[in-house]
Subunit: 403 residues, 2 copies
């Protein structure tokens, strides 16, 4: 029998506890040995649960129990999760986490501790919920040089954008609907401002390129400014607006990393990823493009990914496997000003000459259902500093990057 402990009995933690009970037999068969939950840390009591006797409010009960070989962290956030996870590793317990903020911020340090002590630190559930992406990325693409990772990494904003695109709903109405359906939290900023997608692209890029990309190195824009009119303009040029997290490796070894609403061509497979689904595209030299697609969040898929990591750690107790990257460094990601972009730009009507004066001849976008009191066009590809310099001379209503 292998004993594990769970830190935090919220949505994911309770899902893990339930799955460990419900699927105990297949889990034992897969792991080669029975696996049981010994402690669950939570500040609350759950007297009516069939496993209420497992709860403790003292982290030390877990830390000091030498019988616990694996700890599952599902508290979320940095504090106290970071401290708890680090102390578990230092106490020679392998760790599984679903906490993307923790991995995106401190993954390099925690992976280094795990490696030093011959432990495992796995976090498949931190990206793409139940979609298997980190292990395939690490293992199956071993023979590839990966150039780019791009994805729709946040289900909440993708649900909102799908409503805005399909029904012309405003941002506010789409957010209210997402909150009503339980997809968005009361404070939606982690989703709508792009922070969640930013953490996920950091984890994906760190693994794919072998060096830690930190959240503060990624230029991040959310979807608050998007309007139904922007959506219509995108459609008029055969594109769809999606919140994309993207990291590309440049020839000089540095990364270009960004999270922002982008206009995808309609025949790009990510353009077909709708509602709360996530899609992640990996581009490698030998493999070409591979896309992973599925439900990016939710209690059951996420808990299922955590339990799969637990099974893997049971199979590899004291034999470190998988997943490693080096610490990052300043200057690893290029400054956003140096990125090359083309943008769809809307300006007030009557400024055709001003636009031409700045950009030369451009094709203005026409269409039936577009507003008559403004102009829109696509800029040439320029570096963002130059592009923004030129746009400063115009009465810009909105501007969105093309993918």
């Amino acid at each position: 029998m292998i004993y594990i402990a769970i830190l935090g009995h919220g949505v994911v933690g309770s899902g893990v506890a339930e799955l460990m009970r419900k699927n105990a037999d297949p889990i034992a068969r897969k792991a080669g040995i029975p696996v049981a939950v010994k402690h669950i840390l939570d500040i609350r009591d759950f007297p009516s649960l069939p496993y209420s006797e497992l709860f403790t409010k003292r982290f030390e009960d877990i830390l000091e129990d030498g019988g616990v070989r694996i700890v599952v962290e599902t508290i979320g956030g940095l504090n106290p999760a970071y401290d708890f996870v680090k102390r578990c590793l230092l106490a020679d317990k392998s760790v599984v986490t679903s906490n993307k903020e923790l991995v995106a911020t401190h993954g390099d340090e925690l992976l280094a501790i795990a490696r030093e002590r011959n432990l495992n630190f796995l976090f498949e559930a931190s990206v793409g919920g139940g979609i298997p992406i980190l292990r395939p990325l690490d293992q199956c693409l071993a023979a590839n040089e990966v150039y780019e990772i791009a994805g729709i990494l946040n289900g909440t904003t993708n649900f909102m954008l799908t409503k805005m695109i399909e029904t012309g709903m405003s941002f506010d109405d789409a957010l209210a609907l997402a909150q009503q359906l339980g997809y968005a939290e009361r404070d939606p900023s982690a989703d709508v401002d792009g922070h969640d997608a930013c953490r996920k692209i950091c984890i994906l890029a760190s693994l794919a390129f072998g060096k830690h990309l930190y959240p503060n190195q990624v230029y991040t824009e959310g979807i608050r400014q998007l309007t139904p009119t922007d959506v219509k303009y995108a459609s008029a040029i055969g594109r769809v607006i999606k919140l994309i997290g993207r990291a590309c490796k440049r020839e000089d070894g540095r990364l270009y990393a960004v999270v922002a609403p982008m206009l995808l061509p309609k025949d790009n497979l990510l353009a077909e990823v709708n509602d709360v689904f996530n899609g992640i595209m990996v581009r490698g030299d030998a493999i070409g493009d591979v896309v992973f697609y599925g439900r990016g969040a939710g209690k059951e898929p996420t808990a299922s990914a955590v339990v799969a990591d637990v099974i893997d750690e049971v199979k590899h107790l004291s034999a470190r496997k998988y997943l490693f990257w080096e610490p990052g460094e300043e200057g690893y990601a290029i400054p956003h000003d140096d990125a090359e972009s083309a943008m769809l730009v809307r300006v007030a009507a009557g400024d055709k000459q001003a636009v031409t004066a700045v950009f030369g001849q451009v094709a203005f976008i026409a269409g039936d259902r577009l507003p008559g009191d403004e102009l829109a066009f696509v800029t040439p590809v320029l570096n963002e500093k130059e592009l923004n310099g030129k746009l400063a001379a115009l009465p810009v209503v909105s501007k969105w990057r093309l993918y």
Copy 2:
């Protein structure tokens, strides 16, 4: 240094040899130790290759070389691949293969030998080319009960169907084009008659459900009978025709397994998988639907998947990992007659009453560009025996299953 040998220097085998040379450094880093090709078996000579000294025509040179720990089989077909692979395993060499016919036919036996001798037998490249699917299926879905696997598993036929759908091309013209572009072989029967897709769904189902499903247990229909008119009828009811391999686990523990052209709803993500791409959908209890998408064939993606397996075997020499299933048995798959299907049926015009006499009231399909001299309708869901019994009374032009 770990030495490997390659059996067969065809498209995939030469791709593996090239990748092992080109990416020797990253491969050594990933594997933890340098890996080199020591022998290549082929009946031909390749005097102008930079590694021409590695070639041998005697299989025994490889079998009897105790320095070779891992053998890559890329000969294809059953004979002599089956004999060679079995003897390599019995000589305590781990094996990697891209040979789907071999795995679909003898996977259970070869996996059992590998397990007995603490060796690895991996075959990621046998399904989906470079798309990582077998290992994610095995590992990341460990905590899931899988209900169904369905996919577009053959790139050649998917390319042909895409042409037939998008440009109204006939089967013959689409085949000629596929041959011209090198996607189809001169004898295209393995592709167009569904045998290739059948082997792949056997491998996927064997792994997902833990018991060997043999090719002769899968009802298999190809795409030779499909016409542009069928494609138009599908479109008239909002569907797209794709060649689908599908295996579903029933409540009684038996499988329903089929390869056939099927009419997918247009909003099904597999409906968006076009050209030579493959898409594989896995449906599990906790995870929901997950789709893997990418280039299903081609020298480089396939070789890259083989090399990833080699790296994995180097990391696990003498420590068996991953991938196992039990031998199958007669009666494991239900007879096709017992399957439940709805079909889109075309009959000669003027038989409306005959149709109604057999099926009761059905909605006849109307549309601008459909032929005027026939009728088409969708049957209710019935078991295939009953359905075919009813259809025997009608002058059926064609009939296609709905997914």
